[in-house]
C-alpha cells in the first residue's frame, strides 16, 4: 500500500504543530520518523490514523484521496497506530482491550470470547511473550502493557503499522523479537512507520528516514547514507559530541552518603551497597529484575525490610516518603506524566512543591520568593519558558523533567534518585540532562540512576549494579562497564550457563 | 372488666391495630408520631388484649411497604392510615379492604373511596371558613385589604383550607403576589419573605395589611424576616393568620416589637389521638363522640386563638385549657 501525505498542516490554536509536511510510505518499507521532542512526529501520525483532522492537506492511499475522519476509518484502510502514551483500559482484560471496538461476535450478536482469546494467544506466541489474555490489564507490568499495545496492532490484518515509541519499556530481548516480527511482516508487504528516540534502534530496523524539526520536514533519505551523528545533527540542528562523556574520568569522594544493607522486599532480595558523595551509581537489569521496586523502596514508596542508612542515621523502615525527604533523599520518578508532574498546577508551583514539603515552615507563601526560586532553577537548568504561571503541561517533556529536577534541587537534597530520567526525551535534551547529572555529582551529590539503556549508563555512571531476578548479580566499576558485560550479567549468563550468552550473541 | 360480668370477659377478644403514618418531615408530623405512640400506650393499658403497632414512612411507597408488611403478617384487624398523599395510597388502601382488614383514614382524603370505617380529620374546610370570617370581621372598617398568602405544599390540606377561606372572604381582599409555597419550612418561608420585602417599593410594603398562612412554623419564618427588616418602609401588617397553636409561635407574638397581631386556628398533632380512639371504639363496638360526623366524615372541631380579640381563647386562656395540656403532654423538644 502506498500512502502519501501532502502538504499537511496542523494548528493547535495559534501553534502550528505541522507546517506543510509531505510524507510517503511505500509498500513493504520501514520508515524511521525522527525529531526532537515536540517536533510534531506524534501529531503527524495522529493525523494519518484519524485521531484528529488536519487543518489542511491531503492524504492519498494508492493514489486515491481519502478522508480519515476517525480511528475506525483508518482501521478500515488498513492503518493501525500504536500510541506513544499507553492507551489501554486498565479495568478490562487483555483480550478485551485488544479487540476493543473490533469485537468478534457470534450470530446472535453476543461476544465470542473463546475465539478472541485464542487469537490473542496466537499473536502472543508469535511475539514469543507470555501474557494471559484473560488477566486484567491493570495487573500487568508496564512492559507487558506495551507488548499488549503492539500485539493489538498485529492482531488484525493491516497494511501500515505506525509505532510511536513502542520500546520505551521493553527489554532488549523483547525489542529483538519485535524487530524480527516486523521484518517478517515487511517481507509480506506490510509497511511500518517507526518513531523512537533511541537512535541505534532506528539504524537497526529502518530503511528510510524522515526528520521533522519545529513541525517542518527538514530531511528525508536512505539510512544507508547516514550515520548517528548526521541524524542527530539533522534533528537538533547542531552537533553533539559525546566525547565529553566517554573520556570522562571517574572520581568521587570518600565519604559514604548512603548505605543500604540487605534490602528485601516485593521483587528484590538482599540488596546491599554503599553510595559515596559525588558518585553516580547506575542500577540496571532486565525488566522484572526489580529496578523499579528498588527505586520505590529507597524513596519510601513501598515497604521493605533491611536498612537504609543516611549519614549514620537509620531510616524508619516502611513507607514514608516524608522521612526520606527529611534525610535528603529525593527522586525524579519514572513515568513523568503519571508520577512526576502536577498537571493542573503552574510551573512555579511545580518547582516549589518539594520546598513546601521539606523546608517551608511558614503558613503563607511569598510569591516573590517563589518567582526567585523559579528564576534560579531556570538559569541553572536552562528551562525554556517565559510563562512560569502557566500549567506545567505547556512545557515539552524535557523541560518538564528539568522542572521536576529543579523541584528537588531547591530542597538541597544530598542523595538523588533518577528513575528512567530520559524516558521519551530527545537526544539533545538527554545530553543536557546527563550534563546536569554530572554537574550535580561534581557538586558532591550522591546519585543513583535507574536505567535500562547502556549508552546512558555509560555516559554518567561511575559504577553500575546489575540485577538479575531481584538480586545483585554484579557491581561493575567504570573500566568493567561495557555493553557486553552489562548484558552478560543482566541475563544471568554467569549463573545459568552459556545458554543466555549464546542467545545474546546471536542477536547482536 | 368487672367480676360481675364473667361472660363478657370470656368474650374479650384480642385486637391488633396497625398504625401507618408519615415520618416527621416537619414539626407537625413529628409531634403526631409522638402523640400516636403515647395514645397507643394509653389505649393498650386501658383495653386488655389490644395491640397497636405504629409504623411511619418517609414517602408514599414506604407507607405502602409498611402496609404490605402488616398485611403479610396476617394478624391485624384494623389499620389506621394517615396517608402521605391520599391518592397515592388508594391502591394500598384497597388492598387493606380486600384482605378483610378494617380501615380508618386520618387527615388526608382518598377521594371516592368506599368500604372504610371512617375518615377522620381536622376540619380543614371549616378552618378555612373560620379564618375567612375572622378576617372579614377584623378588617370590617377597611375598603380594601392587601394580603400575601403562604401555604404548605400541594396536598388536599392546602387546597381545602384555601377553598374554605376563598368561599367566604369579601372581594375587597386582594392577594398581591403569587401564593408562596413553603414546603412547611420556616427557613424557606423566611427567605421568601425577605425576598419579597426587598423586591418591593416602600408604598407596596406599607400597603400590605394582612398575611394569611397555613401553619405556625411558616409564621415563625415570616416574623423572623419582618423583625429583621431594616429597610425604609414601615410595616403596617395588622394581622397574621395561621393554623396550629404552637407555644413557640405564641411566644414570638408576645415578645415582638412589631404591631402585628396573630390569630391561629387550633389544629394539633394531638388530633391523631382521636383517630386512634375512633379505631378502638369501632373494634370494641363503643360509641365515639370525639368528632362531628359530617357527610360521612368525622371532623375534629377547631377554634381560634388570638391576641387580637374576638377569638375563642386568648393566649392565656388557651394555655390554661385541657386541650393545651394534652397537646403538650408529650413534652417539649
Amino acid at each position: 500500500m502506498l500512502v502519501e501525505m501532502k502538504g499537511i498542516v496542523k494548528d493547535f490554536g495559534p501553534v502550528r504543530a505541522l507546517d506543510h509536511v509531505n510524507f510517503t510510505v511505500r509498500p513493504g518499507e520501514i520508515v524511521g520518523l525522527l525529531g526532537e521532542n515536540g517536533a510534531g512526529k506524534s501529531t503527524l501520525m495522529n493525523v494519518l490514523a484519524g485521531s484528529y483532522p488536519p487543518t489542511s492537506g491531503e492524504i492519498f492511499i494508492n493514489g486515491e484521496k481519502v478522508n480519515i475522519a476517525n480511528a475506525k476509518i483508518a482501521n478500515q484502510h488498513g492503518i493501525r497506530l500504536i500510541h506513544q502514551e499507553l492507551n489501554l483500559c486498565n479495568d478490562l482484560r487483555v483480550f478485551e482491550n485488544m479487540f476493543l471496538a473490533n469485537e468478534i461476535t457470534n450470530k446472535f450478536g453476543f461476544l465470542n470470547k473463546k475465539e478472541m482469546i485464542s487469537r490473542c494467544n496466537k499473536v502472543f506466541e508469535r511475539m514469543k511473550v507470555k501474557i494471559d489474555p484473560n488477566s486484567p490489564v491493570e495487573k500487568l507490568p508496564a512492559a507487558d502493557k506495551q507488548l499488549v499495545e503492539i500485539a493489538k496492532a498485529l492482531l488484525f490484518k493491516c497494511e501500515l503499522i505506525i509505532m510511536d515509541e513502542p520500546t520505551t519499556a521493553l527489554s532488549t530481548n523483547e525489542i529483538e523479537n519485535l524487530f524480527s516480527i516486523m521484518r517478517q511482516l515487511r517481507d509480506s508487504g506490510v509497511s511500518f512507520i517507526y518513531i523512537s528516540h533511541k537512535i541505534p534502534e532506528i539504524f537497526e530496523i529502518c530503511e528510510t528516514y524522515y526528520v521533522l524539526r519545529d513541525g517542518k520536514l527538514v530531511a528525508e533519505g536512505n539510512l544507508k547514507d547516514m550515520d548517528e551523528n548526521g541524524i542527530t545533527e539533522l534533528m537538533i540542528g547542531r552537533q553533539l559530541a559525546d566525547d565529553e562523556f566517554s573520556k570522562r574520568i571517574s572520581s568521587f569522594g570518600e565519604k559514604i552518603a548512603l548505605s543500604v544493607k540487605n534490602l528485601t522486599g516485593e521483587g528484590f532480595r538482599n540488596i546491599s551497597f554503599d553510595l559515596h558523595e559525588g558518585e553516580v551509581l547506575a542500577i540496571t537489569g532486565l525488566h522484572g529484575s526489580g529496578c523499579d521496586a528498588i527505586a520505590d523502596a529507597l524513596y519510601g514508596i513501598i515497604p521493605y525490610k533491611g536498612e537504609i542508612i543516611v549519614d549514620g542515621i537509620h531510616l524508619k523502615a516502611g513507607t514514608n516518603i516524608r522521612d526520606s525527604l527529611c534525610h535528603g533523599i529525593v527522586m525524579v520518578p519514572r513515568m513523568r506524566k503519571e508520577r512526576g508532574i502536577h498537571n493542573d498546577l503552574s510551573i512555579y508551583d511545580n518547582i516549589s512543591m518539594g520546598y513546601f514539603n521539606t523546608k517551608h515552615k511558614r503558613f503563607f507563601i511569598n510569591s516573590k520568593i517563589e518567582s526567585q526560586r523559579f528564576l534560579r532553577q531556570k538559569k541553572a537548568l536552562s528551562i525554556k519558558t517565559e510563562q512560569p504561571q502557566n500549567p506545567i503541561t505547556s512545557l515539552s517533556g524535557g523541560n518538564q523533567q528539568k522542572v521536576i529536577l529543579g523541584r528537588w534541587l531547591e530542597t538541597d537534597a544530598k542523595i538523588m534518585l533518577f528513575d528512567n530520567p530520559t524516558q521519551g526525551i530527545d537526544v539533545g535534551t538527554k545530553f543536557e540532562i546527563y550534563r546536569l547529572i554530572l554537574d550535580l555529582a561534581r557538586a558532591g551529590k550522591a546519585i543513583i540512576i535507574f536505567s535500562q539503556e547502556f549508552p546512558e549508563i555509560y555516559k554518567v555512571a561511575d559504577s553500575c549494579i546489575v540485577l538479575y531476578k531481584g538480586e545483585i548479580n554484579a557491581i561493575l566499576n567504570r573500566h568493567e562497564m561495557t555493553e557486553k558485560n552489562v548484558m552478560y550479567y543482566s541475563t544471568g549468563a554467569n549463573l545459568e550457563g552459556e545458554r543466555y550468552a549464546q542467545n545474546y550473541k546471536k542477536h547482536v | 372488666t368487672s367480676p360481675e360480668e364473667p361472660k363478657e370477659q370470656a368474650e374479650t377478644k384480642s385486637f391488633k391495630i396497625g398504625v401507618v403514618i408519615p415520618s416527621g418531615d416537619h414539626g407537625f408530623t413529628g409531634e403526631s408520631v409522638a402523640h400516636a405512640k403515647m395514645e397507643a400506650e394509653a389505649l393498650m393499658t386501658e383495653y386488655d388484649g389490644l395491640e397497636i403497632v405504629v409504623k411511619d414512612g418517609l414517602e408514599a411507597s414506604d407507607q405502602i411497604t409498611s402496609i404490605e408488611n402488616l398485611l403479610a403478617g396476617g394478624d391485624v384487624d384494623l389499620i389506621m392510615l394517615w396517608p402521605m398523599e391520599g391518592e397515592a395510597l388508594r391502591s394500598a388502601a384497597q388492598s387493606i379492604i380486600d384482605s378483610g382488614v378494617e380501615l380508618v383514614v386520618y387527615d388526608r382524603l382518598i377521594s371516592n373511596f368506599e368500604g372504610l370505617v371512617g375518615e377522620i380529620m381536622g376540619d380543614n374546610v371549616g378552618i378555612g371558613k373560620m379564618m375567612g370570617e375572622y378576617i372579614n370581621k377584623y378588617y370590617a372598617d377597611m375598603d380594601s385589604v392587601q394580603y400575601l398568602r403562604f401555604v404548605g405544599d400541594s396536598s388536599t390540606v392546602t387546597s381545602q383550607r384555601n377553598e374554605g377561606m376563598d368561599e367566604v372572604i369579601e372581594p375587597k381582599f386582594k392577594q398581591v403576589a403569587n401564593t408562596f409555597v413553603t414546603d412547611w419550612s420556616t427557613e424557606t418561608a423566611q427567605g421568601q419573605m425577605e425576598d419579597w420585602l426587598n423586591a418591593h417599593t416602600v408604598e407596596e410594603i406599607e400597603e400590605l395589611d394582612l398575611i394569611v398562612t397555613h401553619d405556625d412554623e411558616i409564621v415563625d419564618g415570616l416574623m423572623n424576616a419582618l423583625e429583621a427588616y431594616s429597610g425604609p418602609a414601615k410595616i403596617n401588617i395588622k394581622l397574621i393568620t395561621s393554623v396550629g397553636g404552637r407555644e413557640d409561635t405564641l411566644v414570638k407574638f408576645e415578645n415582638t416589637k412589631l404591631p402585628v397581631k396573630f390569630c391561629t386556628f387550633y389544629f394539633a398533632p394531638s388530633f391523631i389521638r382521636e383517630a386512634l380512639r375512633l379505631s378502638v371504639a369501632h373494634l370494641y363496638g363503643e360509641e365515639y363522640t370525639g368528632a362531628n360526623l359530617v357527610n360521612g366524615q368525622y371532623l375534629i372541631p377547631s377554634f381560634s386563638i388570638s391576641n387580637a380579640g374576638d377569638a375563642t381563647y386568648d393566649f392565656e386562656e388557651y394555655r390554661n385549657s385541657d386541650i393545651y395540656k394534652e397537646r403538650y403532654s408529650i413534652g417539649k423538644f
Binding site: S51, N70, A71, K72, N75, L81, H83, N87, L88, C89, N90, D91, L92, E96, L100, A101, N102, E103, T105, G109, F110, L111, I117, D132, N134, S135, K139 | S23, V53, K55, D56, G57, L58, E59, A60, S61, I64, T65, E68, N69, A72, M84, E85, G86, E87, A88, L89, R90, S91, A92, Q94, S95, S111, N112, D153, S154, S155, S159, V181, D183
Partner: protein, 337 residues
C-alpha cells in the same frame, strides 16, 4: 494475583469457576448471607414465599433504576435525576392514561419520555460538556419543579375506571397454584437483572461502557464513539425510569408531585456501590447491583420486623452500607497483597 489468575485459567471448568468467583470476587455475598441470617432470626415469617416475593416486589422500582445506574456509573458518570424523572414521567403518564384510557399508550409514553429525558441528560453531558453531577442535578430540579407547577392542585390521580386494570401490574402475578403466585413485578425485576447482566457481559455495548469508564481517551482512540456510549447509558436509565414510573403509578394509582420517588437516586447509587461497582467507572457487576438492591430492602424488612424506630433506619442503613463497602475494600486489598 497473577498466579491465581493463571491457575484459574482455561483448564478449570465453569462450575468451578463460578464457585471461585463466588468466594473471591463477590465478597458481598458474605454480607448478603449474614443479612439473610439476621433477617430470618428477627422475622419468623422471613422464609415464607409471601415475604420473599414481597421483598422482590418492593425492590423492583429501585432495582430497575439501579440497573440503569450501574451502566451510568460503570461509564464513569452519575445520574441523580432518576427520582424526579420517575415522578415526572409518572405524573404525565397518568394524565395520558386518563385521557386515552389505554395502559399500552401510557407505557409507550413513559418509555418515550424516559428516552427523551435520558437523551437530554446525555446531550448536556456529551455535547454540552457539563459534568454529569451538575447536569443531572439540573434535570432533577427541573423535572420536580415542572410537575409541582402542573400539579399544584394536588396529586395526579388515575381515573376510577382505569384504576383496577392499572393496579393489576402491581398486585397481579402468575399463579402456579391458587395460593402460590409469582408477582409480575418480581418477574420484571429478575428479567431486567438477567438482561442487563447479559448486555454488560456479553455484548459490545457492555464492553464499550466499561472501556469508556475505565479510560475515555483510549476508548476514543480505539474507535469507540464515546459520546454515543455515554448518552446511551443515560437513555437506558431514562427508559428504566419510564418503566419504573409505570410501576409506581400502578402501585400507588396516584403520583404526588412533591414527594413521589424522592430519594430513589440515593438508594440506587447506594445499591450500586454496595454491589461493588467502582464509583469511578470501569468496573462493576450487575449481579452485584441486583443483590445490593435486595440487601437494601431486606435491611428495611429487618428494621420493620425488629420494630426499630423509623427515624433510625437512615443511620442503620448508612452503617450497613459503610460496612459492606469496607468489607469489599478489605477483601480486595487482601487479594492484591
Amino acid at each position: 494475583m497473577l498466579k491465581t489468575i493463571k491457575n484459574m485459567s482455561n483448564k478449570t471448568k465453569y462450575p468451578k469457576d463460578l464457585y471461585k468467583m463466588l468466594i473471591t470476587e463477590y465478597s458481598f455475598i458474605l454480607s448478603f448471607i449474614l443479612l439473610v441470617i439476621i433477617a430470618a432470626s428477627v422475622n419468623k415469617n422471613f422464609f415464607t414465599w409471601t415475604n420473599i416475593s414481597n421483598i422482590f416486589v418492593q425492590s423492583s422500582m429501585v432495582g430497575l433504576i439501579a440497573m440503569g445506574m450501574s451502566m451510568v456509573i460503570s461509564a464513569g458518570l452519575i445520574d441523580i435525576s432518576v427520582g424526579s424523572q420517575v415522578a415526572f414521567i409518572g405524573s404525565f403518564g397518568i394524565l395520558v392514561l386518563n385521557n386515552t384510557g389505554s395502559i399500552f399508550i401510557m407505557l409507550l409514553f413513559c418509555i418515550v419520555v424516559g428516552f427523551i429525558l435520558g437523551g437530554l441528560n446525555g446531550l448536556m453531558v456529551t455535547k454540552g460538556g457539563i459534568p454529569a453531577m451538575i447536569a443531572t442535578m439540573a434535570m432533577q430540579s427541573a423535572c420536580r419543579s415542572i410537575i409541582n407547577h402542573f400539579g399544584s392542585g394536588g396529586p395526579f390521580t388515575v381515573n376510577k375506571e382505569y384504576y383496577e386494570s392499572l393496579r393489576m401490574l402491581a398486585v397481579g402475578g402468575i399463579y402456579i397454584t391458587p395460593k402460590f403466585k409469582i408477582p409480575y413485578l418480581m418477574i420484571i425485576f429478575c428479567a431486567a437483572g438477567i438482561i442487563f447482566d447479559i448486555i454488560m457481559k456479553h455484548t459490545k455495548f457492555g464492553k464499550y461502557i466499561y472501556a469508556v469508564g475505565s479510560n475515555e481517551t483510549s476508548a476514543r482512540l480505539s474507535g469507540i464513539n464515546v459520546d454515543l456510549v455515554k448518552a446511551c447509558t443515560f437513555i437506558v436509565t431514562g427508559i428504566m425510569c419510564g418503566i419504573t414510573s409505570l410501576i409506581y403509578a400502578s402501585r400507588t394509582t396516584a403520583v404526588a408531585a412533591a414527594s413521589a420517588a424522592t430519594g430513589f437516586e440515593m438508594d440506587a447509587i447506594a445499591a450500586v456501590a454496595i454491589g461493588g461497582t467502582s464509583m469511578s467507572g470501569g468496573k462493576g457487576k450487575i449481579i452485584g447491583t441486583f443483590i445490593g438492591v435486595l440487601m437494601f430492602k431486606m435491611i428495611s424488612n429487618i428494621l420493620t420486623a425488629a420494630d426499630v424506630s423509623t427515624y433510625l433506619n437512615g443511620a442503620i442503613s448508612a452503617a450497613i452500607i459503610v460496612i459492606a463497602v469496607l468489607m469489599q475494600k478489605l477483601q480486595n486489598s487482601k487479594k492484591s497483597s
